[in-house]
Subunit: 345 residues, 2 copies
DNA sequence: GAACAAAACCGAAACGTTTCGGTTTTAAAG
DNA sequence: CTTTAAAACCGAAACGTTTCGGTTTTGTTC
């Protein structure tokens, strides 16, 4: 049905190789250029990327594997990455593995079969082995947000430890001592780093670290609700909580809301990620923000770089991006209240 | 590098066609089956989907074109659709056109070049012409959430009019008369239907329709903020507002929050979509919900159906799914208050 | 206008499958 | 054991490109 390169050759009286050369940016005599363009126009020719892919062994498509599309953090990153990739002619094959290690593995197989040129991935399981197969096939892999043990490839990370340290410091500065954290799953890279940041901040301020103040959630809304309830039950003197991702922040707010706990009068809260949600909350939430757009952009750019230098070997880049902080009214400033109290006397 | 079907043929002593037949589910003698499977195992053979695609003229991939990945409504639909498609072996090539008609057109071209087998799309511009090219190529198109004028293809819609009518009725039943609406862009199909539902509900209750009570936003957070401000300025007697999508609901809440308007004491609000957000708001928001999972699932299933019957002709299906309503505390029940008042006397 | 280098052009072969039409093998029936 | 229908098997050709090595054309210089 659709016209092929052969049709264009026939129509113009030129050779196959010439048309191909033209299509790939080669030089062609002016009059031939005109003839070719005319024929393409008339016959509605469009190069068949599939055939091209077979011949060149490059599909110009990138596999994107993420734990959850329906997650604002992932979605923002992917949006940006997809745009950067497509602008360079690369298609994004997106697979959502629902934070399930088994599905993640399946998806990697799937993408390998489809012969994508590279893999952009926010890991959720410990799938080092599967990912290795990409590297063995000399196809670049860029990891986002999380490293995978024993896997040497480019990655774009965030300064999780620093971010949490900074947030906890703000709580300490405001006079809080009984600071809880809703951390993520134990095996999760970001969760480990964030918890570590929490411990470091407390240690530096010489505040004893209590197990009862550290509760783990599973990065879901429901998990956040449960963790917050647990934290409150276990610690009658709880004065502030840091919640270490967006979904759990949402869950925490819902739970506090349902328990009738006032923010920040009865409990101070610092959340994570979603600026708009923070702004729409009552009171406005103070949150740690991650540079999602930049993460996506950098990851895609790293991928493109590897793709064009087409050497998967060489020193791998480990980017570490800075987080931000958006101030709200969800943290009670005990220090200030005390000093006001004192001046009053 | 990677093993091909030829290598398997050589290793097993069987013919090319036999291997191909085996790979495609054909019958093979038991002993040969074993030999083939062994050879596949040993040589790490994986069928090359690109070559297969060239030969069969089917890439087993579906283009998914949406206005904004980073939008919970879209993301939920796509998550579901992608899962259904992939389970049947179809890859999803996702393109985000940022609600931009020009980019949307580009993306359609892009997907056509990639020879996707079909197009799943939440339209944002009036790109009938571009989409036609898919149909001309005998490739199925399934529209989601919006129709496109003069384009006859399957679509999965939502009962927008009914949803808004129902929501407005609830406001009326609660005793509200000065009901505003923050509607979507004029050219938007869903926006038209929703506005129409609003008008019908008012008309039926014999409440005069006032222009000042109908404000349009652009379906963004910022647009919602602006629209809410306008609505309040224009209508001093405003008693309730219906906001017709999630982003604008978020914007409205932010704006009310910043203006210090109390919900529902000073203003009643009904929002759209995001259940979790509604639950986390203070007070809990009453919202209209859309069956996003079902939309995604149905759309993907419709696509698969068309794909396997491989006749794009025939009667097109127009599915119309029911919306839901989640009750919160953001609507003041004036009627009830009045009757309480009366019994008190 | 002859000589020459550079630029443009050319067709065949190859990429890894599926499919067509035909041949061989199997096993059931006589 | 022979016949026969069905099942299994087979290789060549084709899908639409790119690329290799080689040929022709162009235009500059003498």
């Amino acid at each position: 049905m659709a016209a092929t390169i052969k049709d264009i050759a026939k129509a113009t009286g030129l050779g196959l190789a010439t048309i191909s050369s033209y299509l790939n940016g080669g030089n062609v005599r002016e009059k031939n250029r005109i003839r070719i363009e005319q024929a393409i126009e008339e016959l509605h020719f469009e190069v068949n990327e599939v055939a091209r892919g077979l011949k060149t062994n490059r599909t110009r498509s990138i596999g994107i594997l993420i734990p959850e599309l329906n997650n604002i953090f992932c979605a923002e990153i992917i949006t940006e990455a997809e745009e950067v990739l497509r602008r360079q002619g690369y298609a994004a094959m997106i697979c959502d593995c629902r934070t399930d290690a088994h599905r993640e593995k399946e998806a990697i197989d799937f993408l390998l079969h489809r012969r994508v040129d590279g893999l952009l991935m926010i890991p959720s399981g410990e799938t080092g082995a599967s990912v290795q197969r990409f590297l063995r096939a000399k196809k670049p892999v860029v990891l986002i947000d999380r490293k995978i043990r024993n896997l040497d490839c480019d990655c774009v990370l965030v300064d999780n430890k620093g971010a949490v340290k900074d947030a906890v410091n703000r709580l300490i500065t405001a006079g809080h001592r009984e600071i809880g954290i809703i951390a993520g799953p134990e095996e999760m890279y970001t969760a480990q780093e964030r918890l570590y940041g929490y411990e470091q901040a407390l240690a530096k301020a010489r505040i004893p670290i209590r197990d009862s103040l550290m509760v783990r959630g599973d990065y879901t809304i429901r998990g956040g609700m449960k963790a917050m309830r647990e934290l409150i039950q276990k610690n009658t003197d709880l004065s502030a909580v840091l919640v270490s991702n967006y979904e759990m922040t949402l869950g925490s707010v819902i739970e506090l809301h349902e328990l009738g706990v006032q923010i920040p009068e009865e409990l101070s809260l610092i959340g994570f990620d979603n600026v708009e949600f923070a702004r729409a909350s009552t009171p406005r939430l103070s949150i740690v923000t991650q540079p999602t757009k930049e993460i996506g952009k950098k990851a895609a750019e790293l991928m493109l770089l590897r793709l064009q230098e087409d050497t998967v070997s060489g020193k791998k880049q480990k980017l570490r991006l800075k987080t931000g902080f958006v101030e709200g009214n969800s943290v009670r400033d005990i220090k200030r209240e005390e000093s006001l109290e004192r001046t009053k006397e």
